[in-house]
Symmetry: C4
Subunit: 244 residues, 4 copies
């Protein structure tokens, strides 16, 4: 599973930021003991960085491995890797615009995946959900499985279901969110969860007015200019908590 | 965006209290990385105090800027300002009785805004909601936008929608709450959120008996005499947490 | 408001336990900045102990005052008292079996009070709710008010509504729970809140099988033998948190 | 209640792990002041280990007792034992494959028990719920009781209701989950609670597609290979919190 060709080392600041993103996602309740976040390699578009097989809340820079797009680790040195690394490789292959990916079982999203109900943007914070979420039904691709995206073919099918959207719900499993940077993808994962929680409540109250496509696009563009503000807060929380 | 006319310095105790209000609103879950709270300048009714563009949970006294009612900062010295400072300026202009304002995306309120369902007071703690909340539909004023109150005209439209009420829901966005002091507006923001959460639950249970207008007015007047009790508690929480 | 007749000092261990009960109720989310807990005086059935007007989460032994059943403090020495001390005095007068009382706005109970829906025991932990909760509608007694039990007549009306039950819902306000000891009444306040939260969920799921009256009585009797277990846990939490 | 025949001492590492499991279940919100977790004795299939009667969140290795399958403690030395130890003894007798058991009042599961609604797996994390949960209605066995499994006959009836499943709902009471190890049973108790919470939400959204039996079995098998990952996280949390 490891290749013999060495890749250029990733920027240490990017490795550090990816470790931080892992801990932020745990602190924000998006991942628990499971789920993962990756970033495309800064020096090689054909590689990405992802932690070894471990709980995201405990990830440190030395736990970050480099993978090629086929899901082969170049520097595992015997360390276990995530079963679902193919989610990342195949989306990076299909989407040149994507530079960071979060796969999670973020709780409020699960009922939407289980009922095949798209998330739609309830407020400007989730403008990136404009047009609604995609759905991945693994049964249509592979019949009865353990639901995991555990090989390249399943990864390609997931990437195809995602298409050009920001978020794909995975029936019986969870969701995957993509972005142009770690800051953006973490923001999107946090507010996809929040939107799900609030959309469920709104549906119980009455007829929901979602953001229309133009509002969603405009809101998403504006919020992308404000990412540093919330990243700073989230970073402060996890560095205070761990002393790291 | 800055004016050349200097304003008298605000009372340092008020600046300190505004920084505290920011951190209390974060601790109470009313704001996350976004949202803001302002107070009218103690020495100039034509100015107000508001933090620079940053996460409210991290605001310290040195982050507080002074603005005129047109939204121009008098002392920004290059620091970024909030895109939506016009919410504050235009409400202070329209409502001489208002001395403090909270704008937030407080979560339980979002589904009410998205379904255009007024908040109504479920218990005496939210008597200030008597008569129900106002609604601001930005589409009626400006068509498709990024939902933000990003210029004086939108600020004036929001102030007009608010009218004489304490709270205005903003469809697809959040809410704005006004008060006569920081203590009162923080109290109102906290209990608007709580009332929203509980109103949703009550609507699922059966027919709700809300406070009528007289009950609401009487309860609000009584609770205004008890604000110091809860402010002391909230202050203790955030000063213990930060050591500040 | 203070009487000239001194009462025998209460047992310092009881005063300490009452301060602890205040902090436990805050830690468990039953009270926030508002609400109160009292205990009948150990040496005088005609008096009870209650904190001065302050947030329960901050109460220390030196904040505990002694009241007669008319709601007069014997040792206030100028300190503010709770507006609703009459809840306590009049229930102690009407119910010789009651030795401790919690009045709160415990959140999940509010929607039940607002819709006049009785709490009923969903599981053995809330056997004390057997036969359902009483309802106090202050409008029936006093017309439009600020909802507070702010005089002896309202206190008597509340005690009459409570009757022989453990819990009375107060429409538009909150609830009051009674018990034979601080340990028991704190347990009941915590599990009334939990039962409310779970009863709302159960009603959304389907037809609920509540404990019948015999089951409820048997369960309540058994749980009364296990109070020390949970008190020890709750005490440990608040003493660790405050270092007290 | 104690026997005179001494059992071989259990492996100290297993005793330590059982104490840890108690604290993890408390930290994860599965138990509060009540509930318990046991493990089958490593050197005697006819015995099991269980804490003395105390809050699980406070259990240390020295609080662990040894019981025979009839529920007799061999080493209580006057310490109180749990009223419901028969849950454990009778399930270990009936199910040779079971090596660890959690009994709890895990909150989101209570409404399912009260409405006799089976839990069904919503996502791969709860594949162990495949085929749905069993139901124990104590009224059918013993009429009106305090709901507790307080003697061997009730323990046998519970074990019969459980059958070959992983989880049995107990109407008016809680639930019991079984597994082949402490790691597995704690995982199952945590995700039974999570599945309950999410299943309730999904039922409000629309028609739910549960994992079918084959998907559930495959997912459960895969997740059993990942238990160390989450156990490490949970262990870190409670050891950091207590310094133990």
């Amino acid at each position: 599973m490891s290749t013999t060709i060495m890749t250029t080392s990733a920027d240490p600041a990017l490795v550090e930021k990816l470790a931080l993103a892992n801990r932020i996602l745990y602190d924000q309740g998006i991942v628990d003991g499971f789920g993962h976040v990756s970033v495309r390699h800064d020096a090689s578009a054909g590689h990405f960085l992802l932690a070894r097989n471990m709980a995201p809340g405990l990830v440190a820079p030395e736990d970050i491995l480099t993978f090629d797009l086929d899901g082969n680790a170049t520097d595992a040195r015997g360390r276990r890797v995530y079963l679902e690394r193919f989610i990342h490789g195949e989306i990076y292959r299909a989407r040149a615009d994507v530079h960071a990916i979060v796969h999670s079982h973020s709780p409020s999203v699960i009922p939407f995946a289980a009922t095949r109900t798209p998330l739609r943007p309830l407020y400007h914070m989730s403008g990136f959900l404009g047009g609604g979420t995609a759905l991945f039904e693994i049964r249509d691709v592979a019949g009865n499985t353990d639901l995991l995206v555990r090989d390249p073919a399943l990864g390609r099918a997931l990437a195809a279901a995602l298409g050009a959207r920001s978020t794909v719900l995975m029936r019986g499993h969870g969701s995957t969110v993509v972005g142009t940077s770690l800051e953006q993808v973490v923001y999107r994962a946090v507010y996809a969860e929040m939107n799900a929680r609030l959309q469920l409540q709104a549906l119980a109250l009455g007829e929901v007015t979602y953001l229309n496509d133009e509002e969603a696009a405009l809101a998403a563009a504006t919020n992308d200019t404000q990412l540093a503000r919330v990243w700073e807060l989230w970073k402060r929380r996890v560095t205070l908590a761990t002393g790291a």
